[in-house]
Subunit: 257 residues, 4 copies
């Protein structure tokens, strides 16, 4: 039996406890519902973490064991501590996959990895998603389009760097790049638009299928790589080099940062 | 006569005042030397700014008037205030070009726009650069390769997102992607490897030519775009939409961030 | 006064002469109407060429003088001679811009430059286009969306390599990447979806504005580069190299192709 | 036990039979040596095919069963039949991986998928390759650099579209992007520079390791997708559409090509 893919589903868990509509749909929290959908796939080992836990449930050891991190947040983006964000980002560079859902377009981790504002336009209305590449791993088993009757749609302009791939486009009165991929370091990143908390979107069987597919796509396939910025002195070069001119640094010293 | 391109050359201006070798080469500061090289092109209107000035010389009005920002820093990356970095980044998204030189690979602004660690390896030794695309605007008038006898070279792995284009590769005992371009928002970004402060690199005629070329390449050609994240209510949609399900937001309200 | 940008508008000119509907809308040919829309911009020098002319009107000298080529064809893609296609492609690599309109997704030149099948789905129905990046040169002066009442829309999957940029997305019952850019060699390529011949689309003021913008965006800004595949012998290398092992080729000989 | 990855190694098999040096190094043909190196990995099922076989050994059924095609050719690029090239390209779009070795930069299949001239410079001299991303699947188990003492090196400019990823750079008196990836349709493409036929490069343990890694990276992970260009009539659209204006096509007819 192959090793399972270890998934951590992170939920902000705020609206679920404060807003009656959200609490009714997701009584155990949105993260629990997402995790349940993933667990339908036996090759995934799923755990959850929330904002309220120490270190938001994302300790160094949890992150080290996580192959793919799923991120959902909305009202409390600003409450996620910067130190935890830095640790998550390092793990993405190492190879951990990241799946950002819906309002996570404005999360600290997503914005930091994109380097752009990640703005868009929005409206509480239904939408339909189309598959741009039926052969893509993330689209496996998905029909050429599917509807989400009740949702908060998003529209362009979506201020992101050009995606590596566009897997879904949507229309809900306006058009939007609803399923996009990028790579940062060795981590694969998938942004998936559906996921507003006032609707039962994470019970939708196609949305669940997309997330299971995306976990398989985002799982690391390389080897961990510990990033550094070494000085390699002249006498360690493979070809013969001759030092010329004055120098700021001593042989093999750590550089300035 | 066409409008000039407004360039601001930012220099950290620290080693020039503390290190005797650097002070001797760049008595007026490295930024002044870079500006001098640019001013050989009459279509450029060049000013300078340094770390020590109020707001590092990069007030809102200076940034608003800047078409292309050239950034050189090394020892004092951490002293650049985050608020100024945010304002620079907004201007890049608007369309301001950014040219990051040498050790600026570890500057706050470059790392924030890349979303990666931007690490590399380094050694104080000479290097040679080759042109990967002789037809590129940044390579105009440059021979197929040129040498920088005294320099601090850099080597791979360079932890950057895949560049849009690679204009130069170099070898100085190791290989490196020494001239790379990206776009973030509407801002064009060029990273150019040469520029260590203990050598007279910014007097090198080919380095000066590359920077003049790069300014022309990076100058904005679109229109300013003020980013926002608007709600567009259902009755403002162009096709007829029907509201369904419960709602979190009121018509036209500002979203959560 | 700056030098004008030289544009050649190529039209297939078949349906205009065979189909009564098309002939009535474009009595002088579709190419003439497109050229007329471009000529509203005094900085463009516009000519036309058609399938029926010798070498399809695209002689070596016409191509050499062309900064941006606009291509519209539909029924007669297969009649465009391969030798002419090869010459056009060489010019794109040199830096000539290419703007491919509507059914040109299946033209020889577009498919050859993309390396993919360029398939899509289609329907004769209206559509609306949205701007994905209001700051882009090609979107200058265009509102955030515009409608084409009568058109043949296209839908995904559109089998193209990931575009460098997406400027427009559309919806006409299905979604589509309606304005995309790529670079091949030094040539900038823009695919723009509108342009079905049975409707007066090339009289539409926004479509005309997009094409004028696109010409400015696609115009070459580098220097011509004559492609080759030279052998550079060991004694011409800048660093000292030592020949080792047996050899297939003589010094400086032309390689195998 | 997981399903094996089916690899077909294609060799031109010309110089092996005509040139005494090549015949001595690769008495069974270069393809056989490459296949032998791959077969060290038990999870790969390897076969070979050559120019001289009917349909160059690449019948429809062989291609259908091939997950990853490895291509080596040099003197006889022009002898590969266009019809076979078209069938290979279709399979790449379907998801078949393609690994192009050394002089395959000028093969019909590689040039067709790239859409550029694929030119470069060359010299019979040794070279060293550096890993640009130690965490990449293709670099698994490879040290940060490795030397090929006897080889034909290549140098920039390499006229390719910007790669999705650069895995290796090299220096052999000049620099070169020696390990690059792209995607066309759903097929993953890897170009790997080493492989000149007058040297025992395909016995080199690191080269063999890179190829085994690359096969794992290039193996399809999506689902087959049969490309088409369907008309979907108005009454099959999901939202209500109204036909307007005259029409060129009948409902559901096949379009023009």
């Amino acid at each position: 039996m192959p090793k399972p893919i270890h998934v951590t589903v992170w939920g902000q868990n705020v609206h679920e406890r404060k807003n009656a509509i959200v609490a009714q749909i997701y009584p155990d929290g949105k993260h629990a519902c997402i995790a349940q959908g993933l667990a339908e796939d036996r090759s995934l080992a799923v755990r959850t973490a929330t904002l309220q836990e120490p270190q938001h449930g994302l300790t160094k050891s949890v992150l080290a064991e996580t192959d793919v991190l799923i991120w959902w947040g909305h009202a409390a983006h600003g409450k996620v501590r910067d130190a935890v964000v830095e640790q998550m980002i390092r793990r993405v560079w190492d190879g951990m996959g990241l799946i950002a859902l819906h309002s996570a377009h404005y999360s600290k981790i997503f914005k930091r990895l994109m380097g752009t504002s990640c703005s868009l336009m929005w409206r509480e209305a239904g939408e339909r998603l189309w598959v741009c590449n039926p052969g893509h791993r993330i689209a496996r088993g998905i029909n050429r389009c599917f509807e989400i009757e009740n949702t908060e749609m998003y529209g362009e302009p979506f201020a992101i760097p050009t995606p590596d791939e566009i897997v879904f486009l949507s229309w809900g009165g306006e058009v939007f790049r609803s399923g996009c991929t990028w790579t940062r370091g060795n981590g694969r990143i998938f942004y998936f638009r559906p996921g507003h908390e006032t609707y039962p979107i994470h019970f939708h069987p196609v949305v669940r299928q997309v997330l299971r597919n995306a976990v398989h796509w985002a799982a690391p396939n390389g080897q961990p790589w510990v990033d550094s910025c070494p000085n390699v002195p002249i006498n360690k070069a493979h070809e013969t080099l001759i030092a010329k001119g004055p120098r700021l640094h001593k042989e093999g010293e750590a550089g300035l940062r």
